[in-house]
């Protein structure tokens, strides 16, 4: 079933990607199919003890395998991911007009993301998790940059990619260390590890989770990601992808809870983010940005709860995770609808929409109050559990963490109130704006989510069962906890009520103050400046290094080779060297050197060709002295043809070689002498460490016996190294064809008069 569903995702992605243009909005329905199927199948697993797994060995040698495991926790998450995904598809059908361009692309990317996210939550080995983790980063990049003609969207997409992909690198490193320390990559075999490797892995994995889940200071990409179409924001940037970090922390926490850094770092990330995100939400006027910053804040709370690590906190985190996905997706959808129907998301411009958009208002109210933690809605028991968990801490921890969480909760209520009040409150009608007719598909999706928020509270026993069966998989002791509809007059309840009241007061007060424009996104600007700076530095380096001068490239390479050869100096053994094999050799070497030096100084090309011939024939003579008759014959003939070629090819040019600057000339001389010396050193070094006597006798024997020839060299060429010789023939053929083609235009012109003459 796991494979079937994943293949269904691939099929839907391929279909929408290839047929997208013709399908119009139907592409969205195709995209919804695998999501709906996954959600329905997850329903059969969720809350039960069933475990379904699948997988195969990918790289057996490295112990890398693709493993999936669907248990109560994974099924709960995939239900959330796929269920909201299907609703987002429905919503998108209303959001986009039927003729919208790029709908196929949108649907294909969305369904690919959904499949990647489902794969991520089902993953049972760290490598599988990593694979799908990266896939979500890429699809997120594509979706944020969906409006690729808009530079704002492009910049935001780039920023999101750089931060989340950087986190991906940290994740990979963290996983490598984790597998090294734990000895297994399978997540269901998790067991506590300690030690310095474990600590490093914990830090890296927490950083990865922080980038994905937008924790301060990595949060800057998330508000920018609001450049994506609203359905994408509702899906990726509130309900699912940003939860990937939280999910990662949840499933891997049992391994690291005993390391020193896990809890403090997790709490530091989480609490800072919670407060800073809530403050951000209070400062913005764009409703979508308020929600984005609110999401940052909520993610902080989730990470903080998981950082605390008590069973109760874990239980609360999972409950809150689900509740948040439901209400935040609904709120994003509401904002999207308001945007589409009124043309603005600025809460200063919006007002009094409760009358013109009653259903939307109801959805917003239900979801918003759920976010604020007001009964009788799903958000209330979840937040209640969170506060209980925090109050369950002891000593200074209780004071610090408790204080911050409760403070964050107050701010949450405040920005929620401000948002609802700004959009729907205030009685004065909106000036100069007509509210467009409602779009049923959008409303349907919103209402389903709002209904889930209410129904979740009504059927709280069922929800408790789902959450508990999921939570025990990460924290076995969590089975004693429940979500309570009416907890009684506990401290937590009283605290929550104070939070709600205080928050509402602050919220209304802030909402009355008209803020013009939002705060400058300094963090995002810094990230962009950094990216731009790196890019510009790269360009500058490339401009320097890749200057375009061929001789300079060559000289650089040659100098590097020369320097690399310098180490052979230590290998030289003076005893292995002698002046010459015979006198003739010495004389010929002198001739070669003289001719070679002459070749560099002659300045007529014909003269150069003749000097080249002199070198060649001297080399042939040297072959005689060395006892290589085959080489002599070949060298003589080759040299003849080359000299003829030189005379014919360039001989008729009477021009002189162009003169170069003196400095460049000096540089070339230095480089040349350097490489000559380096090669001489390398040769001498090689001669000083022979690896034994040459197998002359063996070669001679086998030449006669196997090759049927007395000329050992030729037998080697045509028999032992026959394939090389074949390659050699191919080279010559290629050269001949190349010469004919390169010179064709010219030679044809010269043929014609000859032919008419004959």
């Amino acid at each position: 079933m796991i494979w079937f569903l994943l293949v269904l995702y691939v099929a839907a992605a391929s279909a929408t990607a290839t047929l997208g243009g013709r399908l119009g909005r139907n592409a969205l329905w195709i995209a919804a199919v695998p999501m709906a199927a996954t959600a329905l199948w997850s329903l059969t697993i969720v809350g039960s003890d069933d475990v379904v797994s699948a997988g195969f060995d990918w790289v057996p040698g490295l112990d890398v395998s693709i493993l999936f495991r669907v248990d109560a926790l994974h099924a709960l998450l995939s239900l959330m991911v796929a269920g909201i995904g299907a609703l987002v598809c429905v919503y998108s059908a209303g959001y986009f007009t039927s003729g919208a361009a790029g709908l196929g692309r949108f649907a294909a990317t969305l369904v690919t993301f959904s499949g990647a996210m489902v794969g991520l939550v089902w993953a049972d080995s760290v490598w599988t998790l990593f694979l799908f983790w990266e896939l979500t980063s890429i699809t997120s990049f594509l979706l944020v940059g969906f409006k690729h003609t808009d530079p704002v969207a492009r910049t935001a997409a780039r920023r999101a990619l750089v931060i989340t992909a950087g986190g991906g690198l940290a994740l990979l490193a963290g996983f490598v260390l984790y597998v090294d320390a734990a000895g297994t990559a399978v997540l269901s075999d998790i067991s506590p590890i300690t030690g310095s490797t474990a600590t490093a892995a914990a830090v890296l994995i927490l950083i990865a989770a922080a980038t994905k889940s937008a924790q301060v200071p990595f949060h800057v990409w998330l508000p920018g990601a609001m450049a994506a179409p609203t359905p994408v924001s509702a899906y990726l940037h509130s309900a699912t992808m940003v939860k990937a970090g939280v999910i990662l922390v949840a499933v891997i926490a049992p391994a690291f809870q005993e390391t020193d850094v896990w809890k403090p770092l997790g709490l530091a990330f989480g609490l800072t983010t919670m407060i800073w995100g809530a403050i951000g939400a209070l400062r913005h006027v764009d409703a979508k940005l308020i929600l984005a910053w609110g999401t940052v804040s909520q993610l902080g709370l989730l990470i903080a709860l998981l950082g605390i690590g008590t069973p109760k906190a874990t239980f609360a985190a999972i409950a809150l995770l689900v509740a948040h996905a439901v209400f935040k997706a609904a709120l994003f959808m509401v904002v999207g609808e308001v945007d589409v129907r009124t043309g603005t998301r600025n809460i200063n411009e919006l007002s009094g929409l409760r009358r013109s958009m009653p259903i939307t208002f109801a959805v917003a109210l239900v979801s918003g109050l759920s976010m604020a933690g007001v009964p009788p809605l799903l958000g209330f028991p979840a937040k209640e559990a969170a506060i209980e968990a925090v109050l369950g801490l002891e000593g200074s921890e209780r004071l610090l963490v408790g204080g911050l969480v409760i403070g964050g909760a107050v701010l949450t209520v405040a920005y929620t109130t401000r948002l609802l009040f700004g959009m729907f409150g205030r009685s004065e009608p909106m000036p100069d704006r007509r509210v467009a007719p409602s779009r049923p598909a959008m409303v349907v999706a919103e209402v389903v989510l709002a209904f889930a928020t209410v129904a979740g509270f009504v059927a709280l026993g069922g929800v408790t069962q789902l959450v508990r069966s999921a939570a025990v998989l990460v924290a076995p002791k969590a089975e004693v906890y429940s979500l309570l509809r009416w907890p009684g007059l506990t401290t937590a309840f009283i605290v929550s009520m104070i939070v709600v009241v205080l928050g509402s007061v602050v919220g209304v007060a802030v909402a009355r103050r008209v803020v013009v424009g939002g705060p400058a996104a300094r963090g995002a600007a810094n990230v962009d400046a950094l990216i731009d700076g790196i890019g510009r530095a790269a360009r500058r380096v490339a401009g320097r290094v890749q200057h375009g001068s061929l001789p300079l490239y060559l000289a650089t390479t040659v100098v590097m080779v020369a320097l690399a050869s310098a180490v052979f100096v230590v290998e030289i053994d003076a005893d292995a060297l002698y002046w010459w094999d015979n006198r003739a050799e010495a004389v010929l070497v002198v001739m070669i050197v003289a001719a070679a030096v002459a070749a560099t100084t002659v300045d007529s090309r014909l003269g150069a060709a003749l000097v080249l011939g002199a070198v060649g024939f001297s080399v042939a003579g040297l072959f005689v002295a060395l006892g290589a008759p085959d080489l002599v014959l070949t060298q003589l003939l080759v040299e003849t043809v080359i000299v003829v070629g030189f005379v014919l090819g360039l001989g008729r040019l009477a021009t002189r070689f162009p003169t170069a600057t003196r400095l460049w000339l000096a540089g070339r001389i230095v480089v040349s002498v350097l490489i000559g010396a380096a090669i001489a050193v390398a040769l001498a070094g090689a001669a000083s460490s022979p690896s034994g006597q040459p197998p002359v006798l063996d070669l001679a024997t086998s030449a006669v016996a196997d090759g049927g020839g007395n000329n050992v060299v030729n037998v080697i060429l045509t028999d032992t190294r026959a394939l090389d010789t074949l390659g050699e023939v191919v080279v010559l053929l290629t050269v001949a064809v190349g010469i004919l083609t390169l010179t064709r235009t010219r030679s044809r012109r010269h043929h014609e008069p000859t032919e008419s003459a004959t």
Partner: protein
Amino acid sequence: MSLAMIIAVGALASTGTFLVTSRSLSRIVLGFALLGHAAVLALLASGGRAGRPPIVDGSATAETANPLPQALSLTAIVISFGLTLYLLALARRQQMLTGDDLVEDDVEDRRIAATEDWVVLTSDETLAIESHHDDGSGAEADPNPASNVELNVESNEAHR
């Protein structure tokens, strides 16, 4: 190994490199030919002492030269022969097309070095999603200072 051979190889490599780093194609061809000689001699020199030709005729083979480097050298000679001729053809064509045989700087590399900005946008800027409304454009202040020297390319600045 005899120092004579080492000197020959070193000298050929030096002069070859000197010629190859020239800007005149015919000199480069010349340089390649010299480098080819250097390679062949280096192969031979590394095969051991000079000796009798490696042809089996019943006589003692103890003083025979090592045939393997010779076989390798033969291939090397043939390949550098082909390479030299091909380079000649290239030089000739260059001379036919431009009137001289000078190696110019790579124009594309020069262009890259001269460009100030690093983002070169060439994407199809016309395709736009016709969503009913452009949401998200007010997301965050975006101080991207990118600019571009290319014509017909939209830079981020153009949108600011």
